[in-house]
Symmetry: C2
Subunit: 301 residues, 2 copies
């Protein structure tokens, strides 16, 4: 299958962006990738992708720009900055913005995109690197119905599930941030619970087996505790992602005068872990931080 009349630009070739770009290549799209890392660009080129030195160059003539960067500041830069991707896009093109940002930021990006005659889909993603590579992400999206129609083929290629949650930007971002509130709390709770179990001298592999089959289970408990059991803190998803995302929760909530004591406590656990030098390590490092603090003998701690 080739789709020669459609150029898709992917900005950000980390594990998620690389998976998205590779999925599009497999489906026959003309794909141009761009990343600040020369290694990432070389890797993508080896797999048959076209590369460009700047977002502006990558976006020139593109019908769809997918931004897969980390946060709002990076999104701002790669879309609207001096060498941003939007300047030379094809008329009527569509932005898919995948970073987890605040609803306000998403609404602002949408307004500025529309002012340039382009469409914006607020499209935060989840699923991790493996599902990104398989073209099976989940997208919590919102934006104009016409924009969804325009990029349906692209969405179908990169995602197993696209939730269309509303017709303006900000709604997708809000759903994603609720997900991140829970995900972050559940990781912090999993780390607290498994180290507490160890402090009580329990066999923590057995605790994992029993709890993951019980009412105390969560998606994150089931997914992250094996990292702790194996003492493997190579980053599948980093501590700094949650200092950022729970920070967004905290900012929004304070703005709404809405109390979030549980999420705020979890945020502090990630901040403590980052403060101890583990910000770029796997987010299960909260368990390692607790083990170091309490002198607990945990694998790899």
């Amino acid at each position: 299958m080739t789709q020669p009349d459609r150029t898709v630009c992917v900005i950000g070739l980390g594990s998620m962006g690389m998976g998205i770009a590779a999925s599009l290549l497999r489906s026959g799209f003309d794909v141009v990738g761009c990343d600040v890392s020369a290694d990432a660009m070389a890797h993508f080129a080896q797999h048959g992708g076209r590369i460009a030195d700047t977002p502006a160059e990558a976006g020139r003539g593109a019908h769809v720009v997918i931004s897969v960067v980390v946060n709002a500041a990076q999104t701002e830069a790669v879309l609207f900055g001096d060498t941003g991707a939007l300047s030379g896009m094809a008329r009527g093109g569509t932005i898919l913005s995948c970073a987890t940002v605040s609803p306000d930021a998403a609404r602002s990006f949408e307004a500025r995109t529309q002012a340039l005659g382009l469409s914006y889909i607020d499209a935060p993603i989840s699923g991790g690197a493996t599902r990104a590579a398989a073209g099976e992400l989940t997208i919590m999206a919102s934006g104009a119905p016409q924009a969804f129609d325009d990029v349906r083929d692209v969405l179908d290629c990169i995602a197993a599930k696209v939730y269309e949650l509303g017709d303006t930007a900000g709604i997708g971002a809000a759903f994603k941030i609720v997900n991140q509130l829970l995900a972050g709390v559940h990781i912090a709770a999993a780390c607290e619970a498994i180290t507490f179990a160890k402090a009580m001298d329990l066999d923590i592999a057995r605790v994992y087996e029993v709890i993951s089959a019980s009412a105390g289970n969560s998606w994150m408990f089931e997914n992250r505790v094996p990292h702790i059991l194996e003492g493997d803190y190579s980053p599948r998803s980093a501590v700094d992602i949650f200092t950022k995302d729970l920070g967004i929760v905290s900012d929004i909530a304070r703005g709404l005068k809405f109390p979030t004591p549980v999420a705020s406590t979890a945020l502090q656990m990630f901040v403590m872990t980052a403060a101890a030098g583990m910000g770029r390590d796997d987010d299960a490092s909260v368990a390692r931080m607790i083990a170091q603090l309490t002198g607990l003998d945990l694998p790899g701690a």
Copy 2:
């Protein structure tokens, strides 16, 4: 199937104890029930159970006593009190103690039981009323191997899954308390997240649909949020259960000089909910407390 030579005594005919007693009756055991509630006793008698006015009377000649009360103080009273069940049990009988108590309390009960020539199984249960009624509980148990052998038929009758976690009391209790730490945090987080979503004007039924299929999901999120969506706070499991169980977590952790900031914050959410008069309501009432505090329009709040 009849098992006429085995009398099983069930102390505590709340929803869990009633389910256990009914499961045993169905399997042909001779079952004697006892509860402080005359209504519960009448209900059990209507369904063919024998009843007794005191634990001592219920336990007279019993081979197995199953204590299905709420906490350590009640366990102490129904087993060892003036009218406690142990005094007249059959020689070599076995206690199954199902309340969630601290590991220290479980070890103490075991020692006192063994001093009377009886066996003790630390047998905290989970699964809720429906699975209790179906004989499909999960039991996180520890105790002497011989004791397990002696009551295997009883365990098989009331539980779908019996984890044998160690050969002394206290280990089952510790596993259960780790489960309760996570369960309590997950309920508080679910309530915080869903009200936060409402404060951001999201469609919370849609939030439930999306999150329960995403990485932010937990067993408790999936199970409790429907209570919030329906505004139905009739107690399936009460707020006071978690003020108790997270209180046990807090007591143990302080004793070990082990910090549990996430669990302690969740505990305070349940304490706040109980303080607002909802201690005996469903534990999802944490959401109602937040809604009342913030003036949020939630069903039934």
